[in-house]
């Protein structure tokens, strides 16, 4: 992931914890890109990713006074965890509207993927919502399967099997099969 555009020092975080709107805006400016990227990679549309940004920062502004981290990077991890949770809520909501299986079969059935070589970004988009979220959280954001299971309200083996299936599909879509 890219480096944060704006480093927030301890004083800035302390000011934000008092509810100072200027300091909270600095937190927003520092993390909006990272949160949007995470939302965009996990959700289907740019609009959903934007909603993730807004919901994340509303939560950040409301809860920052309870933030207790002091280690370097702990604010980043905290903000990203909120973002991941908001993105997963959106994904769960989408699953109520249409089943994940239908989405996966409809947009990228294995039949049409065989031998099809596409770029990684396009292949990622064609995964099911859940599989895409697991891949992103585990392989890019560095979450463990235990953490993903906790965030999703599922088991560790669910997370592992989603990752395994996702990589098998990515391999097919990228035309990497031997």
């Amino acid at each position: 992931m890219p480096e944060l555009a704006l480093a927030l020092d301890e004083l800035a975080i302390r000011r934000a914890k008092t509810g100072d709107l200027e300091a909270l805006e600095n937190v927003y400016r520092a993390y909006q890109g990272a949160v949007y990227t995470m939302g965009r990679r996990m959700c289907r549309t740019p609009e959903e990713a934007e909603e993730v940004v807004q919901e994340t920062f509303l939560e950040v502004c409301r809860s920052i006074k309870r933030f207790r981290g002091s280690a370097p990077g702990s604010l980043t991890a905290w903000v990203k965890r909120i973002a991941a949770s908001k993105a997963l809520i959106r994904i769960r909501y989408q699953k109520y509207r249409e089943t994940d299986e239908l989405h996966e079969d409809g947009r990228g059935s294995m039949g049409t993927d065989v031998g099809l070589s596409m770029d990684l970004e396009a292949a990622l988009v064609r995964l099911s919502d859940t599989a895409r979220a697991v891949v992103w959280l585990h392989d890019v954001e560095g979450y463990t399967h235990e953490e993903i299971a906790g965030l999703m309200g599922k088991t560790v083996s669910f997370s592992k099997s989603q990752l395994s299936r996702a990589h098998a599909r990515l391999r097919t879509m990228l035309g990497e099969e031997v």
Binding site: Q32, R40, E121, V178
Partner: protein, 198 residues
């Protein structure tokens, strides 16, 4: 191990959770070694995907919502003071009406006032319930809500000041206005929930 590794086994190996047998196999099997390398490259490719920039700045919306929440806290506490003052006034009006003997007219006014207070309380309950739904609102909705809350705060201030001093009819008008504003506020929230809920 006399078979190729599964994707799950390769992923376990990548995460340093693989078995020794799997580790030995990948060292001796060209196919699995190549597959393992492709897995690493895929993940490196995912990590190298470009960072994205949000198309719109959402800070104004976030800020509006935060400020609106802060104003709500203020007018809620003012509203409670208003309700307490109004209850005192209702008691005062009741005692006064008995002394002047205009029992029927005063009792009717009192009933009307009580109905308005009950309705206001019911709308407060509805508002509380609808606010429990986590949701996002547009800047325009947040501004509308903030405007309504400000007007309710002013009405509450009027009720608090009028208690015991103004004619009952003035207090009744203020309560009527409060109920109307509260109704509009609840409707604005409900419309927003319906919109966000698709």
């Amino acid at each position: 191990m006399y078979r190729h590794l599964t994707m799950t086994e390769l992923l376990d190996l990548r995460d340093h959770e693989g078995t020794q047998a799997a580790e030995r196999h990948v060292e001796t099997c060209d196919g699995c070694a190549a597959e393992f390398e492709r897995l690493h490259q895929r993940v490196a490719g995912l990590r190298a995907l470009p960072a994205l920039t949000p198309p719109r700045d959402r800070w104004t919306d976030v800020r509006e919502t935060i400020e609106s929440g802060r104003r709500r806290t203020v007018w809620r506490s003012t509203g409670i003071a208003g309700l307490a003052a109004a209850a005192m006034l209702a008691l005062f009006v009741g005692v006064q009406s008995l002394t002047v003997g205009a029992i029927d007219a005063e009792a009717s006014a009192q009933v009307q006032l009580q109905q308005l207070m009950d309705e206001s309380q019911r709308l407060e309950g509805l508002l509380f319930a609808v606010e429990q739904e986590p949701r996002v609102m547009s800047g325009m909705t947040a501004a509308t809500i903030a405007g309504l809350e400000d007007r309710i705060a002013m009405v509450d201030e009027g009720i608090a000041q009028a208690a015991g001093r103004s004619a009952p009819v003035t207090v009744e008008q203020l309560w009527r206005e409060r109920v109307t504003l509260m109704g509009t506020l609840v409707n604005t929230h409900v419309r927003n929930v319906a919109y966000v809920g698709y």
